[in-house]
């Protein structure tokens, strides 16, 4: 019945044939659309990794703002240098020193959140087909950038002590045999997103040694290191290797993400290119938020504030683990000593992504495990973020989650043996 009418209809994108190949990695997602409901108060969201910013007193921020405007008002609303505010860079040295890092203020670059630092770094290093090694699972925001630069993401076996050096050695050997170019080892070594695990002190030196030997740059992403519950984390990888490690830090978790201020500590040659890339991309990071943070650091008890956050998150982690114990006692979960996340392993056959619509119907949201792998695995896992909901809501959310998992398990039990 088809007649000879125009071969191409309207597709709402006249530029479809003009995009760069890498734009193919950007598409709408059904899961992302489902997350729209998390803004409704009826839904307990254990999904997004949001800090509990209400623990940061507004009056303190207001005072910092007034001081900043009085002292540096015009500079704060002016263009600034591409490397970032020198005063703030001095103060960041003090923060990094808490994790054993000593550095020159010249080697620091302020970025628009550490996410932007990772984006700049990826733009500098990654050609299509280059390999990025990462923990399995790894931070989804980083995986998105690596995918956008058409890199091949290779996950390395990771257990409760972080990435396994033996597995890393094996991966490197395999990839070299295949003639692949490995550009980065991307690590979130402390209270990792999404697993919550910390790379043990014993594993840090062997991993650095392997990377040095194979000329692989280590990208150490450390937004959670200061948010420990009991013991401080082991010394930063950057403190053990100045030439082979690029260190990413952030104020998003120790202050608030709305400022969008992060920083990169890089060897001088990389730093120079990062500054040029940053100037090319956005001229300069926001002077306003840098100076506000600088004022906050100069005139408030910022270490006390981090302590407050630790207390809040520890209470919530305890609530989450207690609820897991009470409602989902048979499921395997990580037991983090800091940070925001639990990593849950579901019963055999349960796919966390496929189950998400049911969870949304039952008014609880989580992040499916597949989001944290570049190779489609992680179906049996999900991430719970306990940082934002109150302990009471965490308990309600996990109780609902238990109901969802039971419903889904029951459904799968009914049909599973029918699937060939």
């Amino acid at each position: 019945m088809t007649t000879h009418l125009p071969p191409h209809g309207q597709n709402f994108d006249p530029w479809l044939d003009s995009y760069a190949a890498r734009a193919a990695t950007l598409s709408v997602s059904e899961v992302r659309a489902l997350f729209s409901v998390v803004s409704r108060p009826e839904v307990v969201s254990l999904a997004g990794g949001m800090p509990f910013v209400s623990a940061l007193p507004h009056e303190v921020l207001n005072q910092s703002y007034e001081n900043m405007m009085a002292k540096r008002g015009n500079a704060a609303i002016q263009y600034s240098g591409g490397q970032g505010d020198a005063t703030l860079r001095e103060q960041i040295r003090e923060i990094m020193a808490l994790e054993g890092i000593s550095s020159s203020v010249d080697d620091l670059v302020i970025t628009t959140g550490s996410q932007h630092g990772l984006e700049l770094l990826s733009g500098l290093f990654l050609n299509p087909g280059d390999v990025v090694l990462a923990e399995g699972p790894s931070y989804l925001g980083a995986l998105g950038i690596f995918r956008h630069y058409e890199a091949q993401i290779e996950h390395v076996y990771t257990d409760e002590n972080g990435m396994s050096p033996e597995a890393l050695a094996e991966s490197i050997e395999n990839l070299k045999r295949q003639g692949k170019t490995i550009k980065f080892l991307y690590l979130v070594p402390n209270f990792a997103n999404p697993s919550g695990v910390t790379l043990s002190a014993e594993r840090r030196a062997p991993i650095l040694e392997l990377c040095r030997k194979n000329h692989i740059l280590v990208v150490e992403d450390n937004p959670y290191g200061l948010l420990y519950f009991n013991e401080p984390v082991p010394k930063a990888l950057r403190s053990m290797d100045e030439e082979g490690v690029v260190y990413l830090g952030s104020f998003s978790k120790i202050m608030a993400p709305g400022f969008r201020v992060g920083y990169v500590l890089a060897p001088p040659a990389i730093r120079d290119k990062m500054v040029l890339a940053q100037e090319s991309a956005l001229l300069c990071p926001s002077a306003f938020t840098q100076m506000l943070i600088s004022e906050f650091l100069a005139n408030t008890d910022w270490k006390g504030q981090i302590n407050t956050f630790r207390g809040v998150y520890k209470e919530r982690k305890d609530a989450a683990l207690q609820a897991m114990h009470d409602f989902l006692p048979n499921l395997q979960t990580t037991r983090p000593d800091g940070g925001f996340y639990l990593w849950i392993t579901l019963p055999e056959g349960v796919d966390s992504k496929a189950m998400l619509p049911l969870a949304v119907k039952e008014l609880v949201a989580y992040t499916p495990g597949t989001a944290f792998f570049g190779d489609g695995t992680g179906q049996r896992n999900l991430r719970i973020c306990y940082s934002f909901p109150t302990p009471e809501n965490i308990r309600v959310g996990i109780k609902r989650l238990a109901n969802v998992i039971n419903l889904q398990t029951e459904l799968l039990d009914t049909f599973s043996h029918k699937e060939s």
Partner: protein, 322 residues
Amino acid sequence: MIPESKLGSKLKVQILAGGISHERDISLKSARRVADALAEIGVTTVIREPDFDLLKNIQTDKPDVIWPVLHGATGEDGSLRDILAMTGVPFVGATGDSARLAWDKPTAKALVAREGIQTPASIALPKEAFKELDVDSVLAAVTNHLSMPVVVKPARSGSAHGVTIVEDAKHLSRALVDAYVYCDVVLIEKYVAGTELAITVINLGAGEIALPPVEIEPVDGRFGFNERYTAGETNYFVPARLEQNVIKRACDMAIKAHEVLGLRHLSRIDVIVDEQGVPWFLEANVVPGLTEISLVPQAIHAAGNSLGEVYYSLVETAFRSR
């Protein structure tokens, strides 16, 4: 009649959008587009969530007309519409009763079939049925009755959530699981190959008319969630690449389905035209998508109208039908 006080001034519209459904995001996008289109012709709108403050907001906003642009549950299942009816404020779209019948796909199919409209053979299976019956024999009976391929879809859902075309009976159980996460009842429908049409039916006070059908041709063959909401993933043809008499048959069928289901001012009837030119009713959309790449706006443009004018006519029609 529009009261004297309203002559010469535009009616004030409250748009309800968001809600707690799987289609919340699409609802919010649709609502913003409706608000933009109405704003272009000088209509004042306010977008509200159907939440705890629903009734308070209606009292505060004092809208002349409410437009529930809520996809999915509460927006389409009739419950919210019943509440709106109680407030006495006129609203755009189907009444609660009609929405309830049309939103439930098996019910809508049964109602239109009773009036002689062709719709693919199907069976609706509640999840509970599998607890009582032997799964193997039920699936074998379904396979035997409908024969492959079939379309498995949640009985009450939209935006192609949970929809699978099953070519091989061995994948039927997986498709059922994927549909049951959206709804406790699943419709298994005989797959009809052909040309997919979306037909917008509107009633601006002078009876139902069908706007030019939009032919849907997904680039990769499946019109799923991503293909619906990603520009470039689907080609749309208006007019549809079909003979005029076939298009007319499909439009007549869509109008009849709209009337049978009592959908009042606006609906989108999804139809498949088989290779013999026979239109088959698939489902009725009580609150069709109104995003920038949705099917209804395409049909309005294809009919030579502006969105703002048609939307405002719908608002006026709703106001008059108090």
